[in-house]
C-alpha cells in the first residue's frame, strides 16, 4: 500500500460483481488498489473513519468511488448524498455503477451530485469493455483534485 497507488473504493453488496470489477480493473496497465465494502453503513464508516475503520492508515482516501445504489442497511443514494455534503469528501468523484437503468434513479443520483452514472451491462464483453473504459478514463485521462 503505497501513496503512489491509485485507490478505488468499491461499494458493492454482490461479491460476484465485485470480483468481476476487480478482475477487469486489474487488467489495466496501472492496476488500482481496490477496497471492497459490501454495505452502505460500512462504506460511510470507512470514509468517515469510524468503528473498525478509525485508523487513517487503514482507511486512506480513495481517488475514485464506485458505488452501487442498492445496498444493505444504508442505501447507495444516502451514501452519495453524505459524501457530497461533506467538505472533506465531496471532491472525490463518485461513479454510480448499478444494474438499475430507471430514469428516476439516474436523476436522483445526478441531483445528489453523482459524477457519473453507469449501468451494469448483461454480457461479459460488454461488462469488460465498460470497465476497461472506466479504467482508461478515470485512471489515465481524468485529472483529480489535489487535496
Amino acid at each position: 500500500m503505497t501513496d503512489s497507488a491509485f485507490r478505488v473504493l468499491l461499494v458493492e453488496d454482490n461479491d460476484d460483481h465485485a470480483e468481476l470489477i476487480r478482475r477487469i480493473l486489474g487488467e489495466h496497465q496501472r492496476a488500482p488498489q481496490i477496497v471492497h465494502i459490501s454495505d452502505g453503513e460500512s462504506a460511510l464508516d470507512y470514509l468517515y473513519r469510524r468503528g473498525t475503520w478509525n485508523d487513517p492508515d487503514q482507511s486512506p482516501r480513495p481517488h475514485v468511488i464506485l458505488l452501487d445504489l442498492r445496498l444493505p442497511r444504508v442505501d447507495g443514494l444516502e451514501v452519495l448524498t453524505s459524501i457530497k455534503q461533506s467538505s472533506e469528501l465531496r471532491h472525490i468523484p463518485v461513479i454510480v455503477l448499478t444494474s438499475s437503468s430507471a430514469d428516476s434513479d439516474v436523476s436522483r443520483a445526478y441531483n445528489a451530485y453523482a459524477n457519473s452514472y453507469l449501468v451494469k451491462p448483461f454480457g461479459f464483453e460488454e461488462f469488460r469493455s465498460l470497465m476497461r473504459d472506466v479504467g482508461v478514463y478515470w485512471l489515465t485521462h481524468n485529472k483529480l483534485a489535489v487535496v
Binding site: N14, D15, D16, H17, L20, P72, S100, F122, G123, R128
Partner: protein, 744 residues
C-alpha cells in the same frame, strides 16, 4: 189688413231687387221697375211702422201690443166717424173728430217711438176729452157717450199700473163731476134737470167697473206671471235634463272598455252608449227606443231579464256576465226619481276579458312556479339585504329535514354550523364587495334530528340599479352523500398512490435483484472461457461455483417471488382456528431446523382463536421462528417465546420473542422491504419478512418489531382478527396480489 199687406209683399218680392238699365229691356219697364222698388221700400217702412215695438221686458211688449191694437181700432173708428159725420151732417163737428184722429196718431207715433206710457196717457186723455166734449155738446151726463168712460176705465185697467189707474179713475170722476156741475148751471146744450144723485150713481157704476176690471186685470196678470214662471221652470228643467243626459252620454262614451245601458220599465233602451257597445257591433241609434227582446237574442234576453227586473224593483248589485268571447262585470244600478221610485235600470258593463285572462295567466304562472319550487331537488331561499330569510320553498322539508317555519325569518348564520359560519359569512361579504353575481359555498348544518349534514348552496347576489346589495337567492342541496363519496375517493386515491409506489418499488427491486445473478453468470462465463483457454483450472472451478451459486440464487428469488404472489390466493376457505394449532402447524414445518439448533421454544397455552387462512397464518409463524433461529449467534442456544401481547374486541396481538442478534432501531422498517437484507452474507433472499407483512396485511392486521439494538434480541408483534368482520380487506388485497402477479 195683415193678409192684404202680406199679399202685397209677396208680389213685391217677385220683382228684381236691383234696378239696372241692362236688366230692363225697355224704358217703360225701367220706370215700372223703379216705381215698384219705391213702393216696396214704402211698404217695408209701413210694415215696420204698422208693427208694435218689441221690448226685452215681456210685460212691456204685451202692453205695447195692446196699446197698438187699441190705437189702430180707435184711429179707424175716429176716421170712420169723421167720414160718417161729414156725410150724415151729425152734430159732432168733423173737425173735432179729425183733430181727435190727429191726437190718436200722435199717440201712435209716440208708441212707435217706444214711449208707451206717454202714448197711453195721450190716448186716454184724448178719450176723456172726446167724451167730455161729446157730453158737453150732447145731453150732458145723460148722453150715451158717457159709457165711453167705462170703456176707458177697462182700457186703463189693462194698460196702466195701479197708481196711474187710480189717478185715471179719479180724473174721470172729476171730469164727470165737472160735466154734471156745468149741466146744473145750464152751461151745456141740454140743461140738466136732475140732481147730483145721478152723478153718484154714475160714480158708483164707474167705480165698480174700475174695481172689477182692475181685479180681473190683476188676476189675469198674476195668472200670466205664474204661467211665465212655470214656463221658465220647465225650460230650466228641460235644460237640466238635457245637460244631465249629455253628461251621461259623455261619461258613457268615454268610459274605457265599458258600456252604459239604461232601461225603462218596459225593458226599452232609454240610453245605450260606450266604446264596448260599438266594439260588440251595436249602434246606439239602432238600439235606443227598442226593447231588449228586439235587440238581443231571446235566449240572452231571458238570461238578463231577471237581473234588469231586479234592478227595476230597487236592488243594486254586480254580477259577471259572459257575452260571446268576452267577460263583463255588470253593475246594476237603479235610477231613482225625486219621489223615490225607480224610474230606470242602469247597467254599467265593464269588459274584464283581458284582466281575467291576465289573472288566469298569472294563476297558471304562479301555480307553475309553486310547483317548481315545491318539487325542485334544491331548497330555495330568498335573503334580504341583512341576510335574513324572507322566503323559503317547501322543498326545505326534504333537503334540510326541517319545517319552512323553522327557517323563515332567521339569519343565514343560524342555518350554518358554528364551525363553518365565519367562512360562509366571509365568502358572502367578499362577493358583495367585489360585486360578484354568484358564489358557491359548502357548509355543515344540524337538522331537526340533530344530524350533521353537508349542504351546498349556490348563492346568487342581487343588486339594484345603483349596484347596492339587495339580497340573495340561495339554492341549497344536500351533498352529504357526495362528501362521503369524495372522502372515500380521497382515501382510495391515497391508498392507490401508496400501492402504486409500493408496486413501483416492487418492480424496481425485482428487476434489480433478478438482473444481478444474470450479470454474474454472464461475467464469469466470459472468464470461464478465458480460464479454460489459459488452462487455469483453479480459477475455472471458482468461476463455475460462482455461476452455479448465482443460478441457485436466481432460482430462490423466483421461488420466493412466486410464493409472495400466492399470498391472498384462496388455498382454503377462511376459518376460525385456535392460534395454538397454527403455531403447531408452523413448528412442524421447521422441526428439522429447530432440532438442528436445539432451539427452545415456549408457546403460551390457550391462545385465542383467529379467523383466516390457516396455512398462510402458519407461514407467518414459520418465517418468524425461522428468522429467530437464523439470526442467533452460533454460540447461543436460541430461545424463542410465542404468546399473546394484547386482546381487543376484534383482534389479538401475538408476539414472537427471541434472544438473537437484535436489530438496530434504524432498520426496523427496512427489514420488511422486499429482498432487503441487513447482512448481505446471510442466507436467504430477504423475502421472508415481506411475506409475513403481506399475509398479516391481507388478514387486516399489521406487523412490527421491537428491539433495543444489536445483541438485545428482538420481538416481532403481529395482529390478527378474531372475527370475520375484518375479513373484508382480504378480498381487496387478494385481488391486488393477483393483479401484481398477472402484471408481471
Amino acid at each position: 189688413m195683415r193678409t192684404a199687406l202680406k199679399f202685397v209683399f209677396a208680389k213685391m218680392k217677385s220683382f228684381p231687387s236691383r234696378l239696372h238699365p241692362a236688366t230692363c229691356p225697355s224704358q217703360v219697364q225701367y220706370v215700372v221697375c223703379g216705381s215698384m222698388s219705391l213702393c216696396r221700400k214704402m211698404v217695408h217702412f209701413l210694415r215696420r211702422f204698422a208693427q208694435p215695438p218689441h221690448f226685452d221686458d215681456e210685460e212691456q211688449t204685451r202692453i205695447a201690443q195692446t196699446q197698438h191694437l187699441l190705437l189702430v181700432v180707435c184711429l179707424t173708428i175716429a176716421l170712420f166717424a169723421a167720414g160718417a159725420n161729414a156725410l150724415l151732417q151729425r152734430p159732432i163737428p168733423t173737425t173735432a173728430l179729425l183733430s181727435c184722429s190727429g191726437v190718436l196718431f200722435i199717440s201712435f207715433l209716440l208708441l212707435q217711438t217706444r214711449r208707451v206710457r206717454l202714448s197711453i196717457i195721450v190716448l186716454l186723455g184724448t178719450i176723456i176729452m172726446l167724451t167730455a166734449s161729446l157730453q158737453f155738446i150732447g145731453h150732458g151726463a145723460h148722453d150715451t157717450v158717457t159709457s165711453l168712460y167705462a170703456t176707458m176705465i177697462v182700457i186703463g185697467s189693462l194698460l196702466l199700473d195701479r197708481r196711474s189707474f187710480i189717478g185715471l179713475v179719479v180724473a174721470t170722476l172729476l171730469v164727470i163731476a165737472g160735466i154734471v156741475t156745468a149741466e146744473a148751471r145750464g152751461l151745456t146744450r141740454s140743461p140738466y134737470e136732475g140732481d147730483f144723485g145721478d152723478w153718484f150713481d154714475l160714480a158708483l157704476i164707474l167705480g165698480l167697473t174700475a174695481f172689477t176690471s182692475r181685479l180681473l186685470s190683476e188676476s189675469l196678470e198674476r195668472s200670466r206671471a205664474r204661467a211665465r214662471a212655470n214656463e221658465q221652470a220647465l225650460a230650466q228643467q228641460t235644460e237640466a235634463l238635457r245637460l244631465s243626459e249629455e253628461r251621461y252620454r259623455i261619461l258613457a262614451a268615454n268610459l274605457p272598455d265599458s258600456a252604459v245601458l239604461i232601461f225603462d220599465h218596459n225593458l226599452r233602451y232609454v240610453l245605450a252608449d260606450g266604446p264596448e257597445l260599438a266594439a260588440t257591433g251595436y249602434l246606439k241609434e239602432k238600439i235606443e227606443g227598442r226593447t231588449l227582446y228586439e235587440v238581443v237574442s231571446s235566449s240572452f234576453a231571458e238570461q238578463v231579464e231577471g237581473n234588469i227586473r231586479a234592478v227595476l224593483s230597487g236592488r243594486r248589485f254586480s254580477a259577471e256576465l259572459p257575452f260571446r268571447d268576452r267577460i263583463y262585470v255588470c253593475h246594476y244600478i237603479p235610477l231613482i226619481d225625486d219621489c223615490g221610485a225607480v224610474k230606470y235600470a242602469m247597467v254599467l258593463l265593464h269588459n274584464v276579458t283581458a284582466q281575467r285572462q291576465a289573472e288566469a295567466n298569472l294563476r297558471a304562472s304562479e301555480a307553475q312556479l309553486r310547483m317548481l319550487a315545491e318539487n325542485m331537488g334544491d331548497a330555495i331561499m330568498q335573503l334580504d339585504s341583512h341576510l335574513n330569510v324572507v322566503y323559503v320553498s317547501p322543498s326545505v322539508r326534504r333537503v334540510l329535514e326541517c319545517e319552512p317555519e323553522d327557517v323563515a325569518g332567521k339569519h343565514i348564520a343560524a342555518l350554518v354550523s358554528p364551525d363553518d359560519a365565519p367562512a360562509v359569512a366571509t365568502a358572502i361579504e367578499e362577493a358583495r364587495e367585489s360585486g360578484a353575481s354568484a358564489i358557491r359555498v359548502e357548509y355543515r348544518f344540524r337538522n331537526s334530528q340533530q344530524m350533521c349534514i353537508w349542504l351546498e348552496s349556490e348563492i346568487r347576489l342581487l343588486y339594484d340599479a345603483q349596484q347596492r346589495f339587495e339580497g340573495a337567492i340561495l339554492s341549497t342541496r344536500d351533498v352529504t352523500r357526495r362528501k362521503e363519496v369524495e372522502a372515500e375517493r380521497e382515501r382510495l386515491i391515497a391508498e392507490l398512490e401508496q400501492k402504486n409506489a409500493e408496486l413501483e418499488r416492487f418492480t424496481y427491486t425485482v428487476s434489480h435483484d433478478l438482473k444481478s445473478p444474470l450479470i454474474t453468470i454472464q461475467g464469469f462465463l466470459g472468464y470461464l472461457e478465458q480460464d479454460i483457454r489459459n488452462g487455469d483450472t483453479d480459477r475455472a472451478l471458482s468461476d463455475i461455483r460462482r455461476i452455479s451459486a448465482a443460478a441457485r440464487r436466481m432460482e430462490h428469488l423466483l421461488r420466493d417471488l412466486l410464493e409472495l404472489s400466492r399470498i391472498g390466493r384462496v388455498s382454503a376457505e377462511p376459518q376460525t382456528v385456535p392460534f395454538n394449532m397454527i403455531v403447531q402447524d408452523a413448528l412442524e414445518l421447521i422441526a428439522g431446523r429447530i432440532a438442528e439448533r436445539q432451539a427452545r421454544i415456549t408457546v403460551a397455552p390457550d391462545m385465542p382463536a383467529v379467523y383466516g387462512d390457516r396455512r398462510r397464518l402458519a407461514e407467518v409463524v414459520q418465517n418468524l421462528v425461522d428468522n429467530a433461529i437464523k439470526f442467533c449467534d452460533n454460540q447461543t442456544v436460541p430461545e424463542i417465546e410465542i404468546g399473546v401481547h394484547a386482546v381487543s374486541d376484534n383482534d389479538v396481538v401475538f408476539f414472537v420473542r427471541d434472544n438473537g442478534v437484535g436489530i438496530d432501531p434504524r432498520y426496523h422498517d427496512q427489514i420488511f422491504g422486499l429482498f432487503n437484507k441487513l447482512d448481505p452474507q446471510s442466507e436467504g433472499t430477504g423475502v421472508g419478512l415481506t411475506i409475513v407483512r403481506r399475509i398479516t396485511e391481507v388478514h387486516g392486521g399489521r406487523v412490527w418489531v421491537e428491539s433495543a439494538g444489536r445483541g438485545a434480541g428482538a420481538t416481532f408483534f403481529f395482529s390478527l382478527p378474531t372475527t370475520h368482520t375484518q375479513q373484508h380487506g382480504v378480498g381487496h388485497d387478494r385481488q391486488r396480489i393477483q393483479s401484481i402477479a398477472g402484471g408481471r
